[in-house]
Symmetry: C2
Subunit: 465 residues, 2 copies
């Protein structure tokens, strides 16, 4: 990753990165900051960044208004984001046509983690960042987490720290750089640039930042609501350090399906699912009701749009108001894994979420809020949901409550689970599902829009096991 | 590619396909049909499929009308495609905001070539197909070239031959399967599924079909207006048979840029170019005028939308009318190549065409109709255009007139050129350009939307040299 690194052998362009990452993953404590020091620092950050977040009625939002003609919720400047209506026609699933509110934010934001060697061990520059929608205020974020309006300072505000490390980096210092989607049920065509860039000793940790080894970050991924969604997606875009070149587990013969079969399956699902998605005036979203306090589904399902007022004790941070999307119920995002021929495979589902730019991406085995399915008959329950809920601890390798992005979503928590099933669990699966190896996921993650944001969290978690 | 083929060694999953393709590419004549027999067969097809195509005024189009409210040109059934307005705001280039007509066809069509072994040599099942926009009627097409409306028989019509070989193939028989874009200046978000599937002896060539070796098809790619656009894009999605495993030229050290650098460059261009593109009523497309005969740009630039009446001498083929997009002037699509460190690299340009689903794809070094730039100052001429036009024969490896899709475009010809430049030609290039190796192009072609349709034609041509 440095300009002076020796020329690498054929077809292992990531091998130096992989071995540096593997060493960093093995460093589970110590380094620049011990585990204990980290939590003390985090507590201080929490105290210092304490925010008061209050639900307020829509009329208390400053600068945000419902357009009288369309019912769309927008900011007076036309900036930030807007809440619009979406009409979806799908040829698949129990509900084939619906409309809903959706967040429109047609910009590509930047999510970047800077990495730097300390004593030969790579450390990641992580940020303690409070977001109004977080259940617990501060979570651990990437070095840079900025919308384009943020970092071009369209709305004023201070400069984004460390941004220059990512905007025009030395190409040889880039470890990962790929556009990835966000929640396709809540956002229309939202995606961010996920970057990891190696920096030199000139880059130091500011007050709200800390250097952690990959092993430390991986351990923190097992804490509830600590590593935020933006950090998790960037981590998933790192090359998988567990499969350095020459690793026999990477042998293509040990995957249940050839790489081409997996790509062909995704292509087919995309071609079959080309349903129609169109923006409509929010007031025309059938089945949704607006009161003074919330825009909600008539049956109380899915989510509501609400308003919040955010203030801090600090004079230099002005108060603001904004809408947030508040999901109903706690989500489940579960990945079944099993040993097939000596290699751990994961069961991915090809999901058509209406907000995806390219129709279908691979998601977890199960991804839903069970409450939203309570009114549907057993045949329309998500496949494998019962299987996941039935297991208490047998085979559960990972079970952590994690938050979705607190800048847009309020109290959006999901229970992320990785469950190992027995070797008599069928390897054949319905057309929507395929067993995929970790290095096949790694290859798909190098190109945009193959794994959804929930699956990316689970890939990051899987690599910690 | 067959179910009984031996297990392949690590990281060369395509090596059997590559070696079969290499053998087929080496078979330049003979096989099922000689070169001479092919041309005799093609002449017969041309005679039999002769169409009379006449320009007609819009009012003579049957079933097609301009919507009185929007001015959009649509079919009464809502099917086929429509001509809409597009407003484009771009942060780059000499013209930063414009509106234009665009073809909207929100369906994923199927382009498939069936391959079959004859005497151990792979042959491709090619089709002689007439299209109303072709300058010469019949061209050589893929085995299947069908819109989704076609193949689901939405508009009636007869079944598409050979479709079943592609709809749900044995996954082990799939050689290529990927969604690829079409002209981003003329279509909004159009893409097709590009497939190559191996079939067995039960599949025989019908009257309008013939079996050709890859070597024969490659030779035909050097004939003007013979191999159609749809066949060329499918050919480009074949794994590159010239770089089988173990080929020293594939050594990663011999590429000017690492694979990750190329992907990072594409990511950056996409993130920077996130301009706004929106559908508008066609009547609101500023600078465009509609007469009874054509919808054209006020200054006669770019293209016109016109109507045609198509009939054949054959009773079983009913006559029909339809709109076509007729470009003004002959396009140029030129690829500069040069030897860098013993490996031929090609100079690709990251292009933001408004109709691309993912903002930016790699195009040829030069892609334009020079007429459209005649009114602009020298500084706004396309880079390298003068370089390309200046060369008469020195270094010209490929120079063939080829047609774009005759089902939507009328007389749309471009001069496709591959020009080898000297080793003192600079390897550094402006931010829009990068020198890329053939196997890097091959990797990008395995994933959707990295190379535009003109670049894909040039990749197919490059592999014939």
């Amino acid at each position: 990753m440095t300009a002076t690194s020796p020329v690498l052998p054929a077809r292992t362009p990531d091998s130096r990165a992989a071995s540096l990452l593997a060493e960093s993953a093995a460093a589970v404590d110590g380094g620049v900051m011990t585990h204990r020091e980290f939590f003390r620092w985090l507590d201080e950050r929490r105290e210092e960044q304490a925010q008061r977040v209050e639900r307020v009625p829509f009329e208390a939002l400053r600068g945000w208004d419902f357009d009288p003609r369309t019912g769309d919720l927008r900011h007076a400047t036309g900036g930030f984001f807007s809440i619009r209506g979406l009409r979806v026609r799908s040829g698949f699933g129990p509900v084939r046509e619906w409309s809903q509110p959706v967040i429109l934010q047609p910009e590509i934001g930047m999510l970047g983690i800077a990495v730097r060697e300390f004593g030969g061990v790579l450390h990641l520059l992580m940020q303690a960042k409070s977001e109004p929608g977080n259940v617990n205020g501060v979570q651990l974020s990437p070095t840079v987490q900025a919308t384009k309006s943020n970092y071009t300072r369209l709305h004023g505000g201070s400069a984004v720290p460390y941004l220059d490390s990512f905007r025009v980096p030395d190409p040889r210092k880039v470890v990962a750089d790929v556009l990835q989607s966000e929640q396709g049920s809540w956002f229309l065509h939202k995606r961010n640039r996920n970057m990891v860039v190696e920096v030199g000793p000139e880059v130091e940790a500011g007050r709200d930042f800390c250097w952690l080894t990959l092993g430390q970050v991986n351990a923190l991924l097992h804490h509830d609501n600590l590593v935020n969604m933006d950090a998790r997606t960037v981590l998933s875009c790192l090359p998988d350090w567990r499969y350095a070149s020459g690793d026999s587990a990477r042998d293509h013969t040990s995957a249940l399906h050839k790489d081409l079969e997996i790509r062909s399956w995704i292509t087919r699902r995309r071609a079959e699912h080309d349903g129609a998605v169109e923006l409509i005036p929010l007031k025309d979203a059938e089945g949704w009701r607006r009161s003074g306090d919330a825009l909600s589904h008539a049956r109380g399902l899915f989510f509501s749009i609400v308003g919040v007022d955010v203030s801090s004790g600090r004079r230099e941070v002005p108060a603001w108001t904004q809408p947030l999307l508040q999901p109903h119920g706690t989500g489940i995002a579960a990945l079944l894994v099993r040993n097939i021929g000596g290699v751990r495979h994961a069961l991915l589902r090809a999901r058509a979420e209406p907000g995806f730019l390219d129709v279908v991406e691979l998601g977890p085995t199960v991804q839903c809020a069970p409450e939203n399915y309570a009114h549907l008959p057993p045949a329309d329950q998500p496949p494998y949901l019962e299987e996941v809920l039935r297991r208490r601890s047998a085979g559960v390798l990972y079970d952590t409550a994690l938050s979705e992005e607190g800048g847009r979503f309020r109290n959006a928590q999901s229970r992320y689970m990785i469950i190992e099933v027995e070797e008599d669990f069928p390897t054949s699966a319905a057309e929507d599902f395929r067993w995929v190896t970790p290095w096949q996921l790694d290859a798909l993650l190098k190109y945009s829009h193959h794994l959804n944001v929930q699956a990316r969290t689970l890939v990051a978690a899987l690599r910690t096991l």
